[in-house]
């Protein structure tokens, strides 16, 4: 009797393993039913994620403030006195202001290049249990979003639309290890391929090995056919280190991405771009150093000596 129960248990485990292997095989062969299941699950989850965003916003702000405390301690000390009288008002408006700022900047960026965009709120950060870097936004196919559309932040490229559901969309961030984008260097027009590395620094592989790049060179998106997945001319990042290893087939460099991925709350999805390439019009301005005033003291010697 007991042996029979053990046998049934083993059979059950074998059936489950075979089912899992069957699912992997079906998915790798591109069977649409499984992709539909993933889409359906996201459609069910998006209202919960939306509710979670609304409910958890104050807590997220609090945690964000705590985690940034060490880095910005000196700045906080300086601003504390000024902020005291505005604290109550600021607490209420902080979330809205941050989103408004991102929204304004992203619209400025898109407007300068003439991109037709639609704004979206980030409703969920993807779990990193699968080592991917994604976010979910609150608009989907009902708002005209399609797969492989460019996603902008207020600083430049944020990512690309990976999957679209009726009322939400999954964005693959530029930090995602599978993210690839064709870029060109502003000014010199050298081209290369930038790939995500899981954090804010990315890897640049230049196509032409004869030309040289320099630290500080700004990278813009090169654009794709029919502007999908990438529209041209959007700032991506700047070069922080160049690898000039002798004998390397292609020159490579490390790039610091403009977008602050830890603070993304509003993004814009590019629905359309003008026929003309915006060129280098979106290149961010370099910060101007503040001149230090010099003080000159003139001393005139007195005619009679003093004791």
């Amino acid at each position: 009797m007991r042996r029979s129960a053990q046998g049934r248990g083993r059979l059950l485990i074998i059936i489950l393993i075979v089912t899992a292997l069957f699912l992997i095989t079906l998915d790798l062969r591109g069977v649409g039913v499984l992709e539909g299941a993933r889409q359906a699950s996201q459609t069910i989850l998006s209202p919960f994620q939306r509710a979670g965003t609304v409910v958890l916003s104050p807590i997220k702000n609090l945690i964000s403030d705590i985690t940034r405390l060490g880095r910005t301690r000196s700045q906080i000390e300086k601003l504390r006195a000024d902020n005291a009288k505005l604290k109550a008002e600021l607490l209420n408006r902080k979330d809205a202001d941050a989103q408004l700022d991102q929204l304004k900047s992203v619209l400025d960026l898109a407007g300068t290049a003439g991109f037709k965009v639609i704004n979206a709120r980030v409703i969920s950060q993807g779990s990193s249990q699968s080592f991917s870097q994604t976010i979910t936004v609150d608009i989907g196919s009902n708002a005209g979003i399609k797969k492989n559309m460019t996603v902008l932040s207020k600083f430049g490229i944020a990512g690309v639309v990976k999957d679209v559901y009726s009322n939400s969309a999954l964005i693959s961030l530029a930090t995602d290890p599978s993210f690839r984008i064709g870029v060109r260097i502003a000014g010199s027009q050298q081209i290369g391929i930038l790939s995500g590395r899981g954090n804010r620094s990315a890897n640049l592989q230049l196509i032409d090995n004869l030309t040289t790049v320099q630290v500080g060179d700004i990278l813009l998106s090169r654009g794709s056919i029919s502007n999908r997945p990438f529209v041209p001319g959007v700032p991506v990042g700047y070069i922080t280190a160049v690898d000039n290893s002798p004998g390397a087939i292609a020159q490579s460099a490390t790039v610091y991405l403009y977008t602050d991925f830890s603070a993304l709350s509003v993004v814009a999805v590019v629905l359309g771009a003008p026929a003309n390439n915006p060129g280098d019009v979106l290149v961010p301005l370099k910060p101007q150093p503040t001149p230090i005033p010099t003080v000159t003291i003139y001393v005139t010697p007195s005619p009679t000596p003093t004791n």
Binding site: R8, T19, L21, L45, F48, I63, G198
Partner: protein, 173 residues
């Protein structure tokens, strides 16, 4: 018997998965954060018989595969979770020192999470899933393990009592 038990447990698995996707994933925790569904299903498996643990692992894995943040093919997490849940269930039922006290539970759960993530990376590499640079992957792996070590003792009494309540047994912890 198993059918009745799993139909009782299914809404709990779905509830934890929704909580993971709607609440836990909202926080951009340093080091990759933690996976509540992973912690829950492993604790649940330690407390269950191997057959029930395998079924629970199948459900949890399938839900994790259906998550939009899953980059691997559907079935990859399912396969790994069946194996992981079965393994911890055998270990848990076989050793009182491991399963009978909170420290043993935490150690077993965290070790299983570490190993299942390594298994995910390995099978992902075989199946062509891009997981990123070595350093970042290592940071995420260590981050998830440390977070799990911190979170498991906090959620262990809740999940243990939930398991006891669901199956009308006495809570071990």
């Amino acid at each position: 018997m198993i059918r009745r038990q799993i139909s009782t447990a299914l809404p709990i698995y779905i509830g934890v998965f929704i909580f993971q996707e709607a609440v836990v994933n909202q926080f951009h925790l340093p080091g990759g954060g933690f996976s509540l569904i992973l912690i829950f299903s492993l604790i649940w498996a330690i407390l269950s018989s191997p057959e029930l643990a395998a079924l629970g692992g199948f459900i949890a894995g399938l839900l994790m595969d259906l998550s939009q943040s899953s980059s691997g093919p559907i079935g990859q997490w399912t396969l790994l979770m069946i194996a992981a849940c079965c393994a911890v269930s055998y270990l848990g039922s076989g050793s009182e020192s491991l399963s009978g006290n909170p420290l043993g539970f935490t150690f077993l759960t965290t070790s299983a999470i570490f190993l299942v993530e390594i298994a995910y990376l390995t099978t992902g590499a075989l199946l062509g899933v891009t997981v990123g640079g070595f350093t970042q992957t290592l940071i995420t792996l260590i981050g998830i393990t440390i977070w799990s070590l911190l979170v498991t003792p906090l959620v262990l009494p809740i999940f243990s009592r939930l398991h006891a309540f669901t199956f009308n047994t006495r809570s071990m912890l």
